[in-house]
């Protein structure tokens, strides 16, 4: 089973993110990612995003999600994956990561949503077990080998937590 060393905080430790189960897979610049469906709220088409001044560049802005203001981030930029222009397959996955003050909603722009997969424990592998220290896996739990392809098990809690409620805005100040 996967052991996790890079993570911190009680939220991610209890999230069970690497437990086998259903995962939503999506692609970002040619890489395939998987996030447990329990963290997914909904998938919406790319809509007009209002930019928010004084925030880091991976923050695309905010959208109106049925009356609630929800921030939207550009995961490509956050993970330094070379960007492609938005197209008709680009969409926003609204996720519910665990933060210090509980779960919150956040929109994540992805290139395309692929499918929902059942991933078995036997198909998962910890980053350390194959990378021999070559890969610093801050934001990933490990990988899953599905039909001869590698899906990155994204740790969405920690992707967002280093700029968590410690106020993304304040980082710029």
């Amino acid at each position: 089973m996967v052991t996790l060393t890079e993570r911190s905080g009680p939220a991610s430790a209890s999230s069970g993110a690497t437990a086998p189960g259903k995962f939503l897979t999506f692609c970002l610049g040619g890489e395939d990612f998987a996030v447990p469906v329990s963290k997914i709220k909904e998938i919406i088409g790319l809509q007009e995003v209002t930019p928010v001044p004084q925030t880091p560049d991976f923050v695309r802005g905010v959208i109106n999600l049925r009356g609630k203001v929800v921030p939207v981030i550009d995961l490509r930029r956050k993970l330094s994956i070379p960007g492609a222009a938005d197209n008709e397959r680009t969409c926003v996955v609204v996720m519910q990561p665990e933060g210090r003050q509980g779960t919150y909603s956040i929109g994540v722009v992805v290139d395309a949503v692929s499918e929902v997969l059942q991933i078995q424990g036997s198909e998962m592998e910890d980053t350390n077990s194959f990378s021999h220290g070559l890969i610093r896996a801050t934001y990933i739990h490990g990988v899953a080998k599905i039909r001869g392809k590698v899906k990155i098990l994204l740790d969405i809690d920690s992707v967002l937590s280093d700029s968590d409620q410690a106020n993304v805005g304040e980082l710029m100040a």
Binding site: T50, Q54, Y104
Partner: protein, 673 residues
């Protein structure tokens, strides 16, 4: 330890003895009997006749053998238990009457609750908040008895409750809070150490207050107020603990007797129907979590906006079907009714806040030997609860200023041909979607020339500047204008007025001042009815739209060609009606370089006023005025500097609300450092 405390402790030990025999099968209850006998002796010494009799009866009862009692042991135990309870009750009642000098138990429990009835709901909610803090801090103190911050916090809590209880006429709560406060003051002074006993006592005090608050709340929807009895035993123990004799202002025996005596039966019956009205209103009320209320108001706000979207949709407009038009119009009416109702859930009348000022006026005039009567108008005017709460401070400040510096002494007034008693007026009224609160006095008013001289000598204005009357009066709001010296020098209405204005600005309101020398001064506070909605000016900068609060906007115009010029090649200024105003570009303030204006058309200059300073703000276009519901940008983004939140605009997209104060403040800071 005082006699009273000793007696109560002796009775406590009887309870303990009795409890120790509860589940056993003892030979007899003679130890209980012995203790009861001793208690009776003590009561005799203190001449507490009823306590003595009760203790004697207990002693006799405890000497009975279960058989000779004719019943089972269990029954005897029950009889003893009942007897001890009665003894406790009798002793406490009798001691309490001894301490307060009141003869009948009914009188002891009744509280002076006349005119304060309207303030009781506030007392309940505020006291609860403080009690929560007190309890939390007491527990923290138990963990770390050497920490001083919890002591201060607890002290403040009891102090505030004391004040509130005093205003509401809840004498026993006031007295208890005062006693605990005295105890804590000795801890603060270092003459008393924090011990588990002390914490226990303070907790008991807060428990009693909690019970009292509950009783007050229960009485609010129309029931009669059945207050818990004065906690004589607890007070005695508290005083015993701090090693104090009841000092003269603590149980206030004399005032307690005097005040109810002053209340004639006629007055009491007069007051009754008046207080019945609000009680009837409250009879059908429910308690709702304010967060839920906020959410409701939020959702209704959204409903109003989407209703507008539907109604104005071109597709719908194209349909010429009378029935549809009628129904849509009906929908609009219902939505706006709903919005009004939802908003009204969060509002409270300003009256209770005014009434608290009445108390302040009374105390202050007594203190400085002046005479004043406070008149109130428009106490029914309603506004958001949070605004009322945050208005208390500035109101108090202005009233204090009015009495300290505005009103003349009785002699001066008579000499000036005025009535000896000054007149203070608190007035609230609605005006174009705002509430205006007027605080005025008929005192000596403000001497313009002195203010101007003062400002010039302090370097706040140039000596040759030509200021209008209003501009001169405005000077007292400048930070640094008011000093203690200014109070005596000038007619002295400037103390801390910059703070008042800051507080009012934080509520998105404005302060105006009017004064005629020799006739008085009037402050006008113009406030929004709610903090959840603002009137915003929607502006365009490049491709982006922003909302700025309308209250800061003074005027909007397109500057002529050449009206804008630069200083040192980088600082822009505008010439507006012969005065030079610094110009800032919103795009640059928000660091939106990519959306800098490339428009050929001339930009729009928005004149904003922040803390008496004017700035010109350049935007590309003014799109319109709109009421918007303020929303947070979400916990993840948290607070973004320079922005105060977001709002859903008419077309369903999100608009960012800019916080001009912090944006411009940051710019000024950057320029000066």
């Amino acid at each position: 330890m005082s006699q009273e405390a000793e007696l109560l402790r002796a009775i406590d030990s009887i309870v303990v003895e009795l409890l120790a025999r509860r589940d056993r099968d003892p030979e007899d209850f003679s130890p209980v009997s012995g203790l009861a006998h001793q208690a009776a002796g003590r009561a005799r010494e203190m001449r507490l006749a009823r306590t003595e009799a009760q203790a004697d009866a207990l002693a006799v009862l405890a000497r009975q053998q279960p058989d000779s009692f004719g019943q089972s042991l269990g029954n005897l135990y029950q009889a003893l238990e009942q007897s001890v309870n009665e003894l406790q009750l009798t002793a406490e009642t009798e001691i309490e009457q001894r301490l307060t000098g009141i003869e009948t138990p009914e009188a002891a429990a009744r509280e002076d609750l006349d005119a304060a009835a309207g303030m009781l709901p506030d007392f309940v909610s505020e006291a609860r908040e403080h009690l929560e803090v007190i309890e939390l801090q007491l527990l923290a103190l138990e963990e770390a008895p050497r920490e001083r911050e919890p002591v201060h916090a607890i002290f403040r809590g009891f102090h505030t409750i004391k004040g509130l209880a005093g205003i509401c006429g809840l004498e026993s709560a006031r007295e208890l809070a005062h006693t605990v406060e005295t105890l804590l003051d000795r801890v603060r002074g270092g003459t008393l150490a924090v011990t588990p006993n002390l914490i226990e006592l303070a907790l008991e005090g807060s428990d009693y207050l909690r019970g009292l608050v509950d009783a007050v709340e229960e009485s609010l929807p129309g029931g009669t107020l059945a207050l818990p009895r004065r906690p004589a035993a607890l007070l005695t123990r508290l005083q015993a603990f701090s090693g104090d004799e009841p000092d003269e202002d603590s149980p206030a025996a004399s005032t307690r007797v005097a005040e109810p005596a002053a209340e004639t039966p006629a007055e009491a019956s007069e007051a009754a129907p008046e207080s019945a009205a609000p009680r009837q209103q409250g009879a059908a009320s429910v308690k709702v979590d304010t967060a839920k209320l906020d959410q409701l108001v939020d959702m209704v706000g959204e409903l109003v906006i989407s209703q507008t979207l539907v109604r104005l949709d071109p597709a719908l407009q194209a349909v010429s079907e009378p029935r549809l038009a009628r129904n849509v119009a009906q929908l609009a009416r219902i939505t706006s009714e709903l919005q009004k109702t939802a908003m009204s859930l969060r509002v409270v009348p300003i009256g209770p806040a005014f009434q608290r000022m009445a108390r302040l006026v009374r105390d202050l005039t007594l203190k400085c030997g002046k005479q004043a009567r406070l008149e109130m108008e428009g106490e029914d005017a309603e506004l958001d609860r949070t605004i009322v709460e945050r208005l208390m401070d500035p109101l108090m400040h202005m009233i204090r200023n009015a009495i300290d510096h505005g009103l003349e002494t009785v002699e001066e007034r008579v000499a000036a041909g005025k009535s000896p008693a000054g007149r203070l007026l608190l007035k609230a009224f609605h005006q174009s979607g705002h509430i205006v609160i007027e605080v005025s006095d008929d005192g000596r008013g403000i001497n313009h020339q002195k203010i101007l001289n003062r400002a010039i000598s302090r370097g706040l204005v140039a000596s040759d500047s030509q200021l209008t009357t209003a501009e001169i009066l405005d000077l007292i709001f400048l930070p640094g204008f008011s000093t203690a010296e200014a109070v005596t020098d000038i007619s002295g209405r400037g103390v801390g007025m910059d703070v008042v204005r800051k507080q009012i600005h934080a509520l998105r309101g404005r302060v105006e001042i009017r004064s005629v020398e020799g006739q008085g001064t009037t402050f006008l506070l113009r406030l929004p009815l709610t903090l959840a909605i603002i009137e915003g000016l929607v502006v365009r900068v490049g491709q982006e739209r922003y909302i700025m609060p309308l209250y800061a906007v003074h005027e909007i115009f397109r500057p002529d060609q050449g009206a804008l010029s630069t200083i040192e090649g980088r600082h822009e200024v505008a010439l507006v009606r012969d005065s030079v105003v610094p110009v800032l570009r919103l795009a640059r303030l928000l660091k939106r370089r990519n959306s800098e204006s490339h428009d050929d058309a001339l930009p729009v200059l928005i004149m904003v006023e922040l803390q008496s300073k004017r700035y010109g703000l350049v935007v590309d276009e003014v799109c319109g005025k709109q009421e918007v519901v303020i929303k947070s940008l979400g916990t993840w983004l948290g607070h973004v500097p320079g922005l105060s939140g977001g709002a859903i605009l008419g077309d369903g997209s999100v608009g960012i609300i800019v916080d001009l104060e912090s944006l411009i403040g940051a710019e000024v800071h950057a320029a000066t450092h």
